[in-house]
């Protein structure tokens, strides 16, 4: 029987796992330890519900409901000097919880403080766009849509950004294989030669490390050299390797041979 491989996460896996291994966690500290973050959290809590909050590696992380994202971003921007939204992206948790985790990385330039606003949405659910508050969200949300398929409502130009407009699938989802899926292997063939020529061309090789054993146009084997393009599906002749006697010295023999050559 073929070995079962999970289809909901096709990313690289550790080939060795210890079932007694419990991964430690990066320590989290309480928000009250930092006066600035504590005051900020109080302000956020006054207007919206906060699910969870802590400080991890010097930055405050605030988990909120997805419907509150704009309210919180506006609050921290207008009242708390978090003038820059440096990054927006998502993490795929579809296999575990059927959810995406979206984070907004915010920067306060006056106090040199950073917070991360985190929210979770279900697959197929859309999030309100942050473009009215931060123009940096324009490209960032487009990339998030391109890579995960998360739609931002009221975004001025919700189109793919890095992948071609007619690409199928969202590459950073865990279900998307590293080498690309079936549609990816036909994409360029269809574009350049047309769908009708699929059979003549064949799918694109998207694995750069793939070696075809019988391909004598691109590969040759030392000791089994054959003419360019020869058909070797029935097997090939072994070519004895002949070394030049004049250039090579046999170091297993005495050093006299070397002296002779000199």
């Amino acid at each position: 029987m073929r070995k079962y491989t999970p289809k909901d996460n096709v990313q690289g896996k550790a080939y060795y796992t210890d079932r007694f291994w419990v991964a430690p966690s990066v320590p989290r500290s309480d928000v009250s330890e930092d006066a600035h973050f504590a005051a900020l959290l109080e302000k956020i809590k006054e207007s919206v519900a906060v699910k969870e909050s802590y400080i991890q590696i010097g930055q405050m992380v605030v988990h909120i409901h997805p419907k509150d994202n704009i309210a919180v971003l506006r609050l921290v921007k207008e009242q708390c000097d978090y003038a820059m939204c440096t990054e927006i992206s998502a993490v795929d948790y579809l296999a575990q919880d059927g959810e995406f985790e979206i984070f907004y990385q915010m920067l306060n330039l006056k106090k040199a403080k950073r917070i991360r606003i985190v929210t979770r949405i279900k697959e197929g659910q859309a999030i309100e766009s942050a473009v009215p508050l931060f123009n940096s969200a324009n490209f960032a949300e487009r990339e998030m849509y391109d890579m995960f398929g998360i739609v931002a409502n009221n975004h001025p130009f919700m189109k793919r950004i890095l992948m071609p407009d007619d690409w199928e699938g969202h590459p950073l989802r865990k279900t998307y294989p590293l080498q690309g899926d079936e549609a990816a292997s036909w994409y360029e063939v269809d574009k350049i030669f047309g769908k009708e020529n699929r059979e003549a061309i064949g799918p694109e090789n998207r694995d750069p490390a793939r070696i075809d054993r019988y391909d004598t146009k691109r590969f040759s084997r030392v000791g089994y050299e054959v003419p360019f393009g020869a058909d070797i599906s029935a097997g090939e002749q072994k070519t004895e390797i002949a070394y030049s006697d004049t250039l090579l010295a046999n170091y297993n023999k005495s050093s006299k041979q070397l002296d002779e050559r000199r």
Partner: protein, 410 residues
């Protein structure tokens, strides 16, 4: 004229290149010598005035974030070279620092000194490249040749240290792989003197008060503080808009906290101000490297952090001690397993704020890695700045924003 689409030249969607009124759509790139890589800009022109600009990116997309999810942490480090390939040590360092923060380790002092010197040397390399290509794009050919001569000396220094000129991989998670070679510091001193001399007597003499240079750069590509903040611009663009924010100064990492350097800032908001900033930043980099040299000389010879669970022991121990060899074997074959958690670490790369967000689930592969590339956002603001400028200034603005497409497309 009707477009004649075929399979290799597809129809541009909903796009009429020539219209009945005096507007026209110009397709700038993706193969254009001043597009600094693969930037396709669609410009809607009214006469020579840009009324709409639409940057189209993704021509150099290699899926580096996807690759990060399929590689162990040490395996991924050389891939970061390919982000901002003009100053690859800055990428290696930003990634290594993010993983170190996740692991909770700190590089030994000598490694920190070497890293700081390499980072600043990379800043000089990148800024020399900026001045060279900026001048070339605007039309000053000779500055390009002079600046590339100095850049070559700087890359020789990099080559002496790590053996590579562009893809350095000169930083490791937990420290640096090698000590500085014999006589490197003396060569570095000689280079800095030469660079500072040339900076003053060649580049600045050729450009700063040059009438044509000033006419082409002054009041071109105006980005004010409000726009820069809103569009997520960092680095020289943010400082060129009058906001004095440098991650090295405000959130110090490595040795920057104990060094004495200034953060130049310009309130001109235009391309000329940003050019002056780059020149001044190179002087500050030279100043930093000079301060780090005595720190390096005084430091202990240890190069990699001592954290046997995550970092291999030095080669000598691996070759002589059984347990170190066993741990090395596990780390090489399985990769390190950082604790569960997430981290976002910003660093000041030559282009701006380069940050890595890493989400770890305790596996040898990162669960999610996001590279916050400064050039990505600097490309985004093009759709705002270019509107209202003339076609001739578009190239000035692109080269003044100093975008590198390895980083934009990832």
């Amino acid at each position: 004229m009707m477009q004649q689409p075929n399979k290799l030249v597809p129809f541009f969607e909903n796009l009429n290149f020539e219209r009945d009124d005096n507007t026209m759509v110009v397709n700038f790139g993706p193969q254009h010598p001043s597009a600094h890589g693969q930037l396709r800009l669609m410009l809607e022109l009214e006469g020579e005035k840009v009324i709409k600009a639409y940057p189209d990116i993704g021509y150099l997309h290699r899926g580096i974030e996807k690759m990060a999810e399929n590689m162990t942490y040490n395996e991924f480090l050389p891939t970061t070279d390919r982000l901002d390939y003009i100053a690859s040590t800055a990428n290696n360092y930003a990634y290594a620092l993010a993983v170190e923060k996740l692991l909770g380790i700190e590089a030994p002092r000598r490694a920190q000194a070497i890293r700081t010197m390499l980072l600043e040397l990379n800043r000089i390399i990148s800024h020399l490249f900026f001045i060279a290509t900026h001048a070339l794009d605007v039309g000053a050919m000779s500055v390009f040749l002079y600046a590339f001569r100095e850049r070559e000396f700087a890359m020789d220094l990099m080559e002496d240290y790590c053996g590579a000129r562009l893809t350095h991989s000169s930083v490791r998670i937990g420290g640096v792989p090698l000590d500085l070679p014999e006589g490197w510091l003396a060569q570095m001193m000689a280079f800095l003197e030469k660079m500072e001399y040339e900076l003053e007597h060649t580049y600045e003499a050729l450009l700063t008060e040059n009438r044509i240079w000033k006419m082409r750069l002054e009041d071109v590509g105006v980005i004010d503080a409000e726009d820069a903040l809103s569009w997520g611009c960092t680095g020289p663009i943010l400082r060129g808009a009058g906001v004095q924010y440098d991650v090295r100064k405000e959130e110090p990492y490595e040795l920057y906290g104990e060094l004495d350097f200034d953060v130049p800032v310009s309130d001109r908001n235009d391309a000329y101000g940003r050019y002056m900033l780059h020149v001044e930043e190179m002087r500050q980099s030279a100043r930093i490297i000079r301060q780090v040299m005595p720190i390096y000389r005084k430091s202990e010879p240890q190069l990699m952090a001592h954290a046997p669970q995550y970092i291999s022991a030095p080669k000598e121990e691996i070759m002589t001690q059984n347990y170190a060899l066993m741990q090395h074997f596990v780390l090489v074959t399985q990769g390190m397993r950082p604790p569960k958690g997430e981290v976002y670490v910003p660093t000041e790369s030559p282009k701006g704020e380069l940050g890595f967000y890493i989400k770890s689930e305790g596996e040898p592969y990162a669960y999610r890695l996001k590279c916050r590339a400064p050039s990505f956002y600097h490309t985004g603001i093009l759709q705002k700045v270019l509107v209202g400028t003339y076609l001739a200034d578009v190239v000035t603005m692109i080269s003044s924003s100093n975008i590198v497409f390895g980083e934009v497309d990832r």
